[in-house]
Symmetry: C2
């Protein structure tokens, strides 16, 4: 273990804990497994509403438990270890030695302190002895075995479906899912079947037992990912751990650590040990650091070593740009923005420098063999994604996507779970083609897209230019949306940017669930709308994605506590409030008898006929004829 030379500089990460407003975290017990209970957040509303607490999906981990004390130097409880051991087929071993290169050669004060507790890694026992290998969630799913992870997921995905049951059929009918098969209720068997078919993934490295199982698939709630990570230029371990917890507090379903530069290994260890959500990385970033940042010096051996390092640490999914093949690279030469994926451009440079096919492609099966032993999921990277709307949907992009389809089938043979990364920058009219092609060539493996950004002209607002594309492609069938923050293209996101990015993507993902006709999605919209209509201000804040900001905005105009219960708002003022008037209208109209309604319509129909008659008379007398001969008249 590294000596804690930089302890002086190293403040133990502080993270945000405590329940969200009016919320209680509940663990719903499985009636199938005694040691499986999945989290649901219940939001309480004012008694006057006479409504039960609203269940919402919860990605926050134990940090939002009432009275939870974060012990960041301990890491989170490793609950899933018991499940993995009881399934068997794994061995604990010493694992790879950490080298200075793993931290970019950082020494002395530049070396971030290592995480205080060491854990020996687990891996699948050597297979190939003739009997079926069972390690990954995909292995078990295909073997017809429901894992505890699958049961856990079924429980947490089901929130609100009982309440929704009443109008479930109606809302399902109401949506347009473009061929998705969203069930009225999620059973563990349904989870198993979707995983077996490769239509969903459960990113769950056996060396990340702190993580709460979650699923990414078109027939489940649309998920979002938040990117964090330091760079050679800026930011520290403390900030990144805080950002990770902060991102999940607001709803990030997974977090990618995209650190570059120094201290990659130690930063990642602190993050994983404290993360209740799956962690993804792009191993080529660290491999590049190990060779001093010179792409040409990369080798399969260095990359392989990095994969194993990260498998042992517990990374849940790897972005692997194995689709950036030598013959595709020159297809990007005439683009406005060439190759903008970091991983993609590194591999492109390597291929050209050596005039060889990418080692990620030629060694793909060895990569599968390594990843399956830890149940690390592929996120096949789109290294040739468009970096501008001008380059969207071109030959380079789609040639790579077709290759990712080939690789998906190979990975599946090895029992490795797969999702596919997508663009990028795509104008609205070109978005659906991306989804359709991905479904077609990648065997319905989950699509995981960055945005897409629907225009390039709003730096500083790319969480919005991309939130538009994200909501649309989520509706079309994308399973997970990678957030974009306001700092995209400009700088590294800070804490506030992370929150803005997460909330923006949560609302985009929810808009997609609504449009797909998810049976439970509407419950939250309707509950909040009722609160709004009934002037339950506190409920309106608390049912929203960001109660703190909503309350703050309200208080900027009407600070007084009294106003929180006032039956008016600052937009209209006390005397003049549409919602108040509407309540009167409702009382009145609600009281009409059928006869009265009939009479009403007859009366007004008559008036209408009379009105129309008068109108046309006047038209004949008056100016009407004068326009008859006018050119181009449309009326």
């Amino acid at each position: 273990m590294n000596k804690p030379t930089s302890q002086a500089e190293f403040a133990t990460p502080r993270v945000t804990t405590g329940p969200l407003p009016a919320s209680q975290k509940v663990y719903v017990q499985s009636d199938r497994f005694d040691d499986v209970a999945a989290p649901v957040r219940y939001i309480s509303v004012h008694p006057s509403a006479n409504e039960p607490p609203l269940p919402v999906y919860d990605s926050t981990g134990p940090y939002t438990e009432d009275g939870f004390e974060a012990a960041v130097e301990q890491g989170l409880p490793r609950k899933r270890t018991a499940w993995i051991l009881e399934r068997g087929g794994v061995e604990t071993y010493e694992g790879r030695q950490i080298t200075p290169e793993d931290n970019g050669g950082a020494t002395g004060d530049y070396l971030a302190r290592a995480f205080p507790r060491a854990h020996s890694p687990m891996r699948e026992v050597e297979g190939g002895d003739g009997k079926a290998r069972l390690l990954t969630q995909l292995d078990y799913a295909r073997a017809g075995i429901v894992t505890k992870e699958m049961e856990y997921i079924a429980i947490r995905e089901n929130l609100g479906r009982r309440q929704a049951a009443a109008h479930a059929a109606e809302t399902l009918a109401d949506g347009e899912s473009f061929g998705a098969e969203i069930p009225e209720f999620v059973t563990a068997e349904f989870v198993r079947d979707e995983v077996a078919r490769g239509r969903a993934v459960i990113p769950a490295n056996i060396n990340h037992p702190e993580a709460e199982p979650m699923i990414i698939g078109r027939n489940f709630l649309v998920k979002i990912n938040a990117n964090i990570g330091n760079s050679a230029v800026t930011s520290s371990v403390e900030e990144e751990v805080d950002k990770m917890v902060w991102a999940t507090r607001w709803g990030a379903d997974t977090v990618m650590d995209l650190s570059t530069g120094r201290n990659i290994h130690n930063t990642r260890e602190w993050i994983i040990r404290n993360s209740a959500v799956p962690i993804g990385t792009v191993p080529i970033y660290q491999a590049l650091e190990k060779v001093g940042g010179v792409a040409e010096d990369l080798t399969w051996e260095v990359y392989r070593d990095t994969l194993i390092e990260q498998c042992e640490q517990g990374v849940d999914y790897f972005t692997v740009h194995a689709g950036v093949r030598l013959p595709f690279i020159h297809l990007t030469a005439d683009r406005v923005t060439g190759i903008v994926s970091r991983g993609g451009s590194i591999m492109a440079k390597w291929c050209l420098a050596h005039h060889k096919e990418s080692f990620l492609y030629t060694h793909f099966e060895e990569i599968c063999e390594i990843m399956r032993r830890y149940d690390v999921t592929f996120s096949l990277g789109d290294g040739l994604r468009p970096g501008s709307t001008a380059d969207a949907n071109d030959r380079a992009q789609f040639a790579e996507l077709e290759t990712l389809g080939e690789l998906t089938k190979i990975a599946w043979r090895y029992g490795v779970q797969v999702m596919i990364e997508g663009p990028g920058h795509v104008a609205m009219h070109k978005i659906k083609a991306n989804m359709d092609k991905q479904l077609k060539v990648c065997g319905e493996a989950p699509f995981y897209t960055l945005g897409p950004l629907t225009t390039d002209i709003a730096p500083g607002y790319d969480h919005i230019t991309s939130g538009i594309g994200a909501a649309m492609i989520g509706w079309f069938g994308t399973a997970m949306l990678c957030y974009v923050t306001p700092k995209e293209h400009l700088g590294l996101p800070d804490r506030d940017d992370v929150k803005t990015g997460v909330i923006t993507y949560k609302l985009a993902a929810h808009a997609a669930d609504l449009a797909k006709g998810h049976p439970a999605a509407r419950l939250r919209d309707d509950a909040l709308s009722r609160a709004r209509f009934e002037f339950r201000w506190e409920d309106q804040f608390n049912l929203g994605l960001d109660p703190e900001t909503a309350r703050d905005f309200h208080d900027q105009t009407l600070p007084k506590e009294a106003h929180k219960t006032a039956h008016f708002c600052s937009m209209c003022g006390p005397k003049f409030c549409s919602m108040k008037i509407t309540q009167d209208v409702r009382d009145y109209a609600g009281g009409l008898s059928d006869n009265e309604r009939k009479a009403l319509e007859e009366m007004s129909e008559e008036e209408r006929r009379k009105g129309m008659a008068e109108m046309s008379e006047k038209f004949e007398e008056g100016g009407g004829r004068l326009y008859v001969s006018a050119p181009g008249a449309g009326s």
Copy 2:
């Protein structure tokens, strides 16, 4: 004129002036009319780019001229007066006396100072003497006459089309316009024809000669509106004038003054006299103030008086909720959020209280007669729009829309221009139905929508929940998008909220133009993308919608001036930059001969075949067969 009792409290409004970064405002001279020159903003880029300045549409008025001195107490120059007088058919008259009721009975220190300069209003001379009445832009368009306003609009809408000509065909082919007929070049004749057909409107009250002519129609650039206005609870005249100028600085094409409470008349006068964009209002708001805020006490006479008051002041378009008819009101009784339109709920209450059809509907033709004499455009209000996704596309909403279609045809007979207001809160899968129905029942009159919000669960972020819907419905054919600010549902927007709302809607409108295949829309995206690719940081900021925020975000991470020209950014750091690598790749790939390319592909194809062969061998030996019998296997 009111005595300036409250002058002490009244600070002369301060407004923001001066050019935007790297921008020059140019007035492009018409070769058809000597006294017509329309504004275009040219954004200069770094000499190294070797690109001409980029023309962008400019809504900012003279405030962004170099060295312009705002004289808010004078108001803007009344350039259009000469055009109106030379066309003839108008008379100047004394106009209606301003009464205390016009300012909500405000007196003493509560009365905001009146605008210092009085102008006598103009109106159409009494018609009906048998000869064709020519006053409104629609009259002239139908008569085959191109007005100076139409020429002005043709010039300002055409920006960049010459540059675009090269790939115009390509980009047009590239888009999906859902039946719009966007021309490669905009001529004054095209403008005239679109107005004559009722497919576009030019909101231009003859008493608002300070305004720069602009057009709202599906075959022109998508426009945006910003709402401002004080309320009984908060905000002042000074703030509202400042907000109006601020909103147009960032791109608002029209501004609606939704003031309620006191000082409505005086606030509006300050706004109109200083506004270079069309101003819209909802006259029923002021009428309600005149009867003490009691909806039942409204009368046709009070409303009529208010219309004339506002026509004489120069309001360019009126929201009139004439589609809220007695027989539709009870259709809202079972809604989750009833009637949320303020105007709609006022009229609903009136109808029920008197048990009569709406006076806006029964007196619709008199309203037309009044509005045509000043060329005020209708914005037929959607008083029954859904206030929650739960209520979207219901019978009440569509019954009203059908009525607006009837009224459109009546208004057209009177030579009054018409646009139609749309929702509201609509989940993504229900948006297109709104556009399709509006086109069908309203004779292609321009659609003007508020958002729509695609989910209800994000108070504090409704500029984004609605920006998603706005971009989509703009793509489908909506001509103008009414912005929503982060304060929607929570409070009155301040200066920052106005800017955020405007920028969000500018990017949504632009995303729509791109997707429609507007021939010039891509120019700005491509210019910015080139700047991004070439690390021209200043250009990237200046070509964006909000250069100040982009620069600020960049500087938060890399403050040093040096970094503005650095060939790397904070996300990757100096050693490790995808864009830099891509430039190398491009140099290399760009230099490949056809033979070399061929060789490349053959080589890699061979490798690929070899690879695949190995893979399947291994598959046969190895785990492959083990999964064959597995249930549900998708590979």
